[in-house]
Symmetry: C2
Subunit: 328 residues, 2 copies
């Protein structure tokens, strides 16, 4: 294993998942009672039945915070990731991909337990992705897996809301956030998914006073503050956290920091599969901040990173991102 | 397991492989001493070292004859596949994908042996693919794995030249061809790769009198007949087999049947990754013949099937092919 870096710009904590992506029709979603654009947790049995019903797929490493880590590393900042795979073939794929992306990844694999987590992703012709996650080994990520030195060494700790689903991961989430704050580091939270917000709304709200940067899309932020009105939700977010970054798909993003705000357009892209768009946006934004850019310029790097993943199947870019960061 | 079909239009026999595809630079190929556009066999140790050096990848089912089977099934003919995976996660991925493509796949997995075969595919910016295959479990496919009833039930048996590399598979190849001929069925052979032809030139030539349809690209057919001149090689192929189908990348294909011949253009496509182009062409051509089309129309279906796979990473189409076949 490579030496741990003395300091990191960004440490991401999340579920370690391999995506299985397949194109489906709207009728397929309806037949399987899936709500388009959201994430569902499924058990082993459902995962097997759904996989059997799915068209041929393409496998690639995923996981929300892991995607953010991979993209941010591609943009040139120092990044680490913590999350649990199993000691199996898909775990080896996940490890290879995140390390090859330049991310420091010290978490040892789970042995003799559940297999590596899988997310069965149905992509409809409009490019929207509907996710069905079998958490497998990733539920066993717990407080023991927290690398205290690494958390203290990272300028920003980034946590995915999905971690609230498995109880041991939620404990790790809370422990990591506490360690980071004690070390005077910034803590960022991504709300992940509107259903995830609905499952953990009170816990997320209670957490907000300890969060420095909040990432959410329109469905997530309106769910968090229980309103249908995006502007109301944005106002609440502005009050709740020092820096709120709200993404709105093709309408770009709204960034709120105290009295300052920036409205950033989406970058032009042909939409094939939106999987990972929000993760890539967060990576671009955080890389921008880390490189000393302002809010609008950081948001624009986020928009361009998102555009780099939605033109193909899969959540991570197929191109060298160094040019994006250099282009400013 | 589903009931075996009473009859098949096409039965493909080949290595059962999962592809790991990653974009690389020309310098990466040079640094690893790879000849662009060809296939190399690698051992476990080399596979591990090369995988460690590779950028993040995308996994999808591959294998030359298996690709042909999947595409042909998508074009609406009845198809089976014989080839060996291991009882592991990548083996499950391979099985899922070929069955979900509509292919009958009765070969049981290998237990307690080598893992499922993997092909590490480097795609350069020009879209050319360079393949490094770890044969794993697929080398254990042998004569015992031949499903005699299925071979007799299939109008055409399609064999990939790569099967000549592992000795047990070569025995299975010869056994299958003999069974098919005894049952009065057509036998098709794809030469697979110029290096594979060089390794087995004499054996392939000795086999030609038993072959009804020969598929080869320019590098393969000139290697087979040891000439630099494509026209000479084509003339030799015309003498050697009843039906020779010679593909020439963007220059289309030349189809030779006795005194008849057809020249077929390539179909327009943006080239991202040429992996599987030849396999898809063979699928389209064989599906065309099976549906009663003439040589040129069958070749054109082959050209369009190839175009459907070279616009993205991976060897199999991401779209519903039924429209291609219907469009004539």
């Amino acid at each position: 294993m490579p030496q741990p870096p003395a300091s990191l710009d960004l440490l991401c904590l999340g579920n370690a998942i391999v995506d299985v992506v397949a194109p489906v029709t709207e009728a397929f979603l309806a037949a399987h009672a899936m709500a388009k654009g959201t994430m569902h947790l499924i058990d082993t049995e459902t995962a097997e039945a759904l996989y059997a019903a799915m068209p041929p797929g393409v496998e690639s490493s995923g996981g929300s915070a892991a995607n953010t880590a991979a993209v941010a590393a591609g943009l040139g900042i120092e990044v680490g990731f913590l999350g649990k795979v199993a000691d199996d073939q898909l775990g080896a794929v996940f490890r290879h991909d995140i390390v090859a992306a330049g991310v420091h990844y010290p978490t040892p694999p789970l042995t003799d337990g559940a297999p590596t987590a899988r997310c069965l992703i149905m992509v409809t012709p409009d490019g929207q992705r509907t996710m069905n996650t079998f958490l497998g080994a990733s539920v066993s990520f717990g407080e023991d897996d927290l690398d205290h030195d690494l958390i203290r060494a990272a300028k920003t700790l980034y946590l995915e809301g999905f971690l609230f689903d498995p109880a041991p991961a939620q404990a790790a989430f809370r422990g990591a956030a506490r360690l980071a704050r004690e070390a005077g580091r910034r803590v960022a939270l991504s709300l992940s998914d509107p259903f995830c917000v609905a499952r953990h709304r009170e816990a997320f709200r209670a957490l907000l006073p300890t969060i420095d940067i909040l990432f959410a899309n329109e469905a997530e932020i309106t769910s968090l503050f229980e309103t249908d009105d995006f502007n109301q939700a944005a106002a609440a977010a502005r009050q709740a956290v020092p820096l709120a970054v709200l993404t709105r798909s093709e309408h770009g993003s709204l960034i709120l920091e105290g009295v300052a705000q920036a409205m950033v357009p989406a970058a032009p892209a042909e939409v094939v599969d939106t999987t990972g768009a929000g993760d890539a946006y967060a990576a671009g934004f955080l890389a921008g901040l880390s490189q000393g850019r302002g809010l609008a310029a950081s948001g624009w790097l986020g928009s361009r990173a998102a555009a780099a993943v939605i033109g193909h199947y899969g959540a991570r870019p197929r191109i060298d991102l160094a040019g994006l960061a250099a282009a400013g």
